[in-house]
Amino acid sequence: MPVRLTRARNVGRMGEHRNWPERLHVVTGKGGTGKSTVAAALALGLAAGGRRTLLVEVEGRQGIAQLFGLEPLPYAERRVAQTTGGGEVRALAVDPEEALLEYLDMFYKLGAAGRALRKVGAIDFATTIAPGLRDVLLTGKVKEATTRSRDGSRVYDAVVLDAPPTGRVGRFLNVTEETARLVKVGPIKTQSEGVASLLRSPMTAVHVVTLLEEMPVQETLDAIAELTALHIPVGRVVVNGARPPLLAGGKVTKAEIKRGLTAAGLPAATATVSRLTTEAQAHLTRRELEESLRLELAELDRPMVELPLLPDGVDRAALGELAALLMRA
């Protein structure tokens, strides 16, 4: 799509995308549904037309580096892609240890004492014994990037967080609850309250990626129910890997395939015809199931986006295609 058209249609005032107005986009989904791919595509799409986005991962998987074909990312915001109009995507792999040191340094000017903390294993200890603290640090870093400004304007037009999978995302985002049990006062409490209020504000949307398969759909429904109960705003349901709507009539016979093969000038051997029929039947079974799952998702009454199955896997060009589709949706 031409860039000018994108800007004219989708961009309201600078920094806010008409179709994706939130500033912090949290992307979750069951393992294997392609949530990292969707997060990357969203960061690319939102960076089009001279904007700057930050793509963040928090699970130490180095998924961003793999998607963009780069060396593992350090704990630093690095440009991973350029977009139209001088836009760019930066990426950050948040490491809880580094985040804690950075945080302590920011508030307490620790210097050598910070290094001492690491030496005695205090950080390993803190993040082990109270995983809630670990999540506060990770989400705290995300909040800092989302709200960071320089010379009076936001550094990032949008931040996209490749979040933990559906099974853990509620706990991950529900930081106050976790830390309130442990920390009654002090800056960590303040920090977690700040994160909690950002996550519950209209600036945030949690998008759930799914496939049209039973378990991912079930987890999508469960996650949305959980997030809703936590008062965390749910954004889109992204159906990934959608297949083209072939055999819309829903019926296929051997005789018809035989006629068609002949019409196409192909040999219509019995073995060929039966193989094709079996494949077509399996496709129809699959499609029927997909259709009922799609209906289940539609009943959620959330905006849905479908992204096509990419037969040749995901490379930079494919990410661009997905980004364009997301921005139009």
């Binding site: 294993g121 082990t128 014994i129 991912p216 055999l247 196409a264 094709l276 896997g313």
Partner: protein, 376 residues
């Protein structure tokens, strides 16, 4: 490159194999594979089998008669074991309850009550990174020690990394041995009131910082928690080490489960390296959801070209669609085979079996039986 075929029936019928561990990335069908293996071991090989699942999909759990997370093996009814005399039991892990049981076992009722009331225990037993993995291993140790099962099939937790459950006992040990913990324990051991009263002056800055950042209440809770746990550390460690040794023993067979996707295969390859390094018995690789190449005498390119020709004439839409479905399947099968080579190329001696993608999801015993037959 063809890897040797994994003899699943040979594995399931071997009386010296007592534990099968299914591991792999999330979303590759681990739980289904574990359930299908358990069912086959009971129905076909007549073994008294228990399947330990971590977080099964609701309908799959229901298919095995599991309606609640109750931490006790339940007899799976309605399966066909008349001929062989096998049995299938299934259970879902309750992480918190397992942890509570461990605590109760290793300490006095009074101490246990103190531990349960401590906010740090509550956080750690329900959310400690690795608790689920550690408790899965603990439960496995318990099931094995009871010696009432011919075969235990374990489905590993859907971890961030499939390796977490192997690392959990070591991580716990490291945590329990850590300098931090010893420093926190120092006052408790000597009966001192202040957490950091006995530590050295150079530690003063640190303790002040911690107090400032976390607050004094938190430190009191924390030191109470570690003091209470201190009495049980030996027992914890011993159990973890024991389970680790059982996993290394030839009575255990590790099965890597993967789907033909780059991430899942990469994870499987990484896991295979780890198993070899830790001297864990790797039995083979299960490739789920494969699309087998079944040539119908038509190449993908020919099918697509023919579909385009039919589009032009316009009256054979069904066949055009059928040809596109065929072409897509062929391309997918080709791509999957290429991805799988990433593993078999690196580990040519690891036996492999593949399971064809099913048109519909598996959530009943018949579906599990079909998967079991495809595995074998």
């Amino acid at each position: 490159m063809t890897a040797p075929r994994l003899d699943v029936d040979g594995l399931l019928s071997d009386p010296s194999i007592r534990i099968v561990v299914c591991c792999g990335a999330g979303g590759v069908g681990k739980t289904t594979t574990a359930a299908a293996l358990g069912l086959r071991a009971a129905e076909v090989h007549g073994r008294r089998t228990v399947v330990l699942t971590i977080d099964p999909a609701r309908r799959l759990a229901q298919s095995m008669g599991l309606t609640e997370l109750d931490n006790t093996p339940r007899h799976v009814k309605g399966i066909d074991t008349e001929r062989t005399g096998g049995e299938l039991h299934a259970m879902m892990l309750d992480m918190k309850r397992t942890f509570d049981e461990v605590v109760e076992q290793h300490t006095t009722p009074k101490r246990a009550a103190e531990i349960f009331a401590n906010p740090f225990y509550q956080a750690m037993s329900s959310t400690f990174a690795g608790t689920q993995e550690y408790m899965a291993m603990e439960k496995l140790g318990q099931l094995r020690a009871g010696d009432q099962w011919d075969l235990i099939v374990v489905d590993t937790p859907p971890s961030r990394s499939a390796l977490d459950f192997l690392d959990a006992p070591a991580r716990l040990s490291r945590f329990l041995d850590g300098r931090m913990l010893r420093m926190l324990l120092a006052p408790a051991r000597t009966g001192g009131r202040s957490v950091f009263s006995l530590v050295t002056a150079s530690f003063g800055l640190f303790s002040k910082t911690v107090q400032k950042v976390l607050g004094a209440q938190l430190l009191t809770d924390l030191s109470g928690f570690v003091a209470a746990l201190d009495s049980m550390f030996g027992g914890f460690r011993q159990r973890a080490d024991q389970t680790y040794r059982i996993l290394q023993d030839p009575q255990t067979a590790f099965l890597l489960v993967a789907a033909p996707e780059r991430d899942a295969i990469r994870e499987a390859a990484y896991f295979a390296e780890r198993l070899v390094a830790e001297r864990m018995p790797l039995a083979g690789l299960v490739l789920n959801r494969m699309h087998p190449i079944e040539p119908a005498g038509l190449s993908a390119a020919d099918s697509e070209a023919a579909a385009d020709r039919l589009d032009e004439t316009g009256d054979q839409q069904v066949t055009a669609d059928v040809l596109r479905i065929h072409a897509a399947l062929l391309r997918q099968a080709e791509r999957e085979a290429g991805v799988a080579t990433g593993f078999t190329g690196a580990f040519p001696s690891v036996p492999t079996t593949s399971v064809a993608a099913q048109p519909a999801d598996v959530h009943d015993v018949d579906g599990l039986r079909t998967i079991g037959a495809l595995l074998a």
